[in-house]
Amino acid sequence: MALNLQFTPEQRRFRTEVREWMGAHVPKMPLKTLESEAGFAQHRQWERTLASGNWGMITWPREFGGRGANLIDWLIFEEEYYRAAAPLRVNQNGIFLLGPTLMEFGTPAQKARYLPQMAAGEEIWAQAWSEPQSGSDLAALRATAVREGDSYVLRGHKIWSSRAAFADWAFGIFRTDPSAERHRGLSFILVPLRHPGVRVRGIRQIHGEPGFAEIFFEDARVPLDHRLGEEGAGWQIAMATAGFERGLMLRSPARFQMAAQRLVQLWRRCADAADPALVGAVAQAWMDAEAYALNTYRTASRLMAGGTIGVEASLNKIFWSELDLDLHRTAMALLGARAELLPRGDASETDDWLEGFIFSLAGPIYAGTNEIQRNLIAERLLGLPRAQG
C-alpha cells in the first residue's frame, strides 16, 4: 500500500542505458505527424530503429522480440522515452492491444507468426471494430465472416479505424454466426489491409490529416487460421483487449508529466500577462499528472504481485483523458491570441500546443467514451442497476 519506490541499482542502470540510447538515436528534428502519409513512413522507420536496439516491446518474452522486462522497467523505459521526446509509437494498436491479446488467446503458431514482426515494426496494425451503426454499441456490429471451405469470406464496413489509412494489417470483430445476435456469434479475425476485397479509404480528421479510415470488406477471403481464439468467442476476446486499452499500457504517465512540465514552463513565460487564476489550473495539471504516475506505480505493483485490473481500467481512462484535455485547455488559455496560430514549421517551435489540444479532444471519445466508462464504474464498482428498457 505505502508507495515508497526506491529504484534498485539495476533499475537505475537500466534507466541510464535507455537514456543514453535515446540520446544517441532520437531524431533531432521532430518527425511529421504520424497521421500523414509522409509522417507515417517516418514513424515506421523509427519503429525499425527501436527494434534494432531491441526496444520494440521490452515487456514481451524474448522469443517474441521483447526483453522479458517487468512493469516497473516498462515505466522507467517510458519515462526516459518521453524525456527524450521520442516519436510516438505508430504501432500502438499492435503492441499495446493486439500483442497482449495474442499472448493470452493466440496459438503458438499465431504468436510466432505475428509477434516478432510487430515488435520489429515490420507490420503495423489498425483496429477494425467500429461501424457506422455501431460505435459505443459495439454489439450491434453487422460485418460478417462466413466460412467457405478453408476460408472466411469477409463482408462489411468498418469505420474510425485509427492509422488504418497507412497500416499493414487490421484486427477486427466479425459476425461468424448470422443467426446469433448482439455479442453472441462474433469472432476476432486478423486481416491484411493490402489484400483482394479489402478497400481502405482515409477519413480526414479535424486537424486535416487522414488520421483514421474506413475499411470496406467486399468478399475478402482470409484463411481460417487468421481467427484468434474460438469461433463465437470474439466478444470475450474483444473485452479483454478493451481492458488492455484502458489499463496500464496505452497512456504512460510520463507523457502527461512531460506535458505538465512544459505547461509550467509556459506559465513562467506568460505569467506577467496571464489571468492569475490560471496558476491554479497549471498546478492542477501537475498534480493530476503526478497522481496518475503514482497510481500507475501502485497498480503495477499490484499486478506484479498477482492482482488483476478490472473496472479500475475505466477509472484510469477517465482520469488521463480529462487530465490531458484540461491541461491543453489551460495551455490554450495561456497562449491567448497566439493559440490560433498554426505552427510555422521552424525548429524553434517544439511546443505544439495546438496539435496537442486537438488530439486531447479525442481522448474522452476513443478507447470507450467517458460516458460509457462512467456507466461501467457506476454499475460494476458502485453496484447501481443497469438501465432498463
Partner: protein
C-alpha cells in the same frame, strides 16, 4: 488488521445514535469513546515499545486515520497519536517530553495541538496538555497554563479552541531552527493524516449516496438507473481513487524537508479534500430533499468533510505553497523525479 479492528469498533462508537447525540450537543459519550480507543492501543501506535507503544510507522497509521474519517470520529486521534507522539519521540532528550510520551501513548494524558496552519485546535475530552508550535519555539503547557477560547464547529463533535499561552508559563521543548524544523514535520504529518481522514469520509459519503440511489424509486425504477446519477457518482469514484496513491506516497516522506516532500504533502491534502468536497456535494444532490434534512445522517459526514478541508493547512495555504514550489523553480520537474528524495532542506 488494526484498521479492521478500528472499523469494527467505530461502527459502535460512531453509530448513527452516537453521532446524532453529538449533533444534539450531547458530548457525554466522548470520554467513553476515548477510553475505548485507548484500550485498542491506538494512541501508542507510533510510540516506541519502551514508552508503551507499538513502534509502527506513519504508513501504518495512515490506514487508521482513514478509518477515523470513514466513521467521522469526533475525537482528535490523529493529533494525539500521529502528531504529538512522534514529536515527543523526536524531542525525547527533553525530560518533559520523555515523561509525557508514555502518558500520551496510553491515552491517559490528553493533548491539543496548535500550529499556525491549524489555529482552531481540536480538543480531546478532559484535556491535560497543550502543544503549541509557535514561530520560534515549541512549547508544552498544562491545560491550566493556557487560556483557551472555545469555538463551536459545524461538525458538532469537534470541540475547538484557540489557545493563548499565559505569560511565562509552559516549558520550551525546542526553539529556533530546531523548533521550526520539528513544526514543519508536524505539519507534514498533520496534513497527510488529515488527508487520509478526508479519503475515509469521502468513501463513506460515496457509499451512502450509492446505497440511496439503489433504494430510492421514482418513475418506477431506482434513481440510480439514471445516467445522470451514475455519472455524478462515478466522477466521485474517479477523484477518490486518484487521491489515494497521492496520500499513500506522501505518508512515506513525512520526515522530509525538501521541496518535493512539501509538494507531495500539499498535493495529498489538496487532492483528498477535493475528493471529500466533491463526495459531499454529490451525496447531498443524489439524496435530494432527504439529504437536506437534519433527520438523515448524511450531514454528519458532509460537515466532517467540510471541517477537515480547513485543518492542517487549508486550501489557501496548500495551494499557494504548491504553486510557489512549482512555478518558482524550487521543485525539479520531470517523470524521473516522482520518487526523488533529497536529504537537504532546499526551500526557504
Amino acid at each position: 488488521m488494526m484498521a479492521a479492528a478500528l472499523r469494527e469498533l467505530a461502527t459502535d462508537l460512531c453509530s448513527s445514535q452516537a453521532l446524532r447525540a453529538e449533533f444534539g450537543a450531547d458530548h457525554s459519550a466522548a470520554e467513553a469513546r476515548w477510553q475505548r480507543l485507548a484500550e485498542l492501543g491506538l494512541f501508542g501506535v507510533l510510540a516506541p515499545p519502551d514508552a508503551g507503544g507499538m513502534g509502527l510507522a506513519d504508513a501504518d497509521f495512515v490506514l487508521l486515520a482513514e478509518e477515523a474519517g470513514r466513521a467521522a470520529l469526533p475525537e482528535p486521534l490523529v493529533e494525539q497519536a500521529a502528531l504529538a507522539v512522534p514529536l515527543l519521540v523526536e524531542l525525547a532528550s527533553e525530560p518533559a517530553a520523555a515523561q509525557l510520551l508514555p502518558r500520551l501513548a496510553s491515552g491517559e494524558a490528553r493533548v491539543a495541538v496548535a500550529h499556525e496552519q491549524n489555529p482552531y485546535a481540536s480538543v480531546p475530552p478532559a484535556l491535560t496538555h497543550w502543544l503549541l508550535c509557535c514561530t520560534d519555539a515549541l512549547i508544552l503547557a498544562g491545560a491550566e497554563e493556557v487560556e483557551a477560547i472555545p469555538g463551536r464547529s459545524v461538525d458538532a463533535g469537534r470541540r475547538l479552541a484557540e489557545p493563548r499561552l499565559r505569560p511565562a508559563r509552559g516549558r520550551r521543548l525546542a526553539d529556533g531552527d530546531g523548533a521550526r524544523a520539528a513544526a514543519r514535520r508536524l505539519l507534514n504529518r498533520g496534513a497527510v493524516h488529515t488527508a487520509a481522514r478526508c479519503l475515509g469520509v469521502a468513501e463513506r459519503l460515496l457509499e451512502l449516496a450509492s446505497a440511496y440511489a439503489k433504494e430510492r424509486v421514482q418513475f418506477g425504477r431506482p434513481i440510480g438507473a439514471n445516467q445522470a446519477i451514475k455519472h455524478h457518482l462515478a466522477s466521485v469514484a474517479v477523484k477518490l481513487e486518484f487521491a489515494r496513491a497521492v496520500v499513500y506516497a506522501a505518508v512515506t516522506r513525512v520526515d522530509g524537508d525538501d521541496a518535493r516532500t512539501l509538494a507531495a504533502v500539499s498535493h495529498a491534502k489538496l487532492a483528498a479534500s477535493a475528493a471529500a468536497d466533491l463526495a459531499a456535494r454529490t451525496a447531498i444532490q443524489v439524496h435530494g430533499a432527504m439529504g437536506y434534512s437534519w433527520e438523515v445522517d448524511l450531514h454528519f459526514y458532509m460537515k466532517h468533510a467540510w471541517a477537515l478541508g480547513g485543518s492542517w493547512g487549508d486550501h489557501n495555504f496548500h495551494a499557494r505553497r504548491l504553486q510557489s514550489l512549482l512555478c518558482g523553480g524550487a521543485l525539479t520537474l520531470g517523470p524521473d523525479q516522482t520518487f526523488a528524495r533529497s536529504a537537504q532542506r532546499d526551500v526557504r
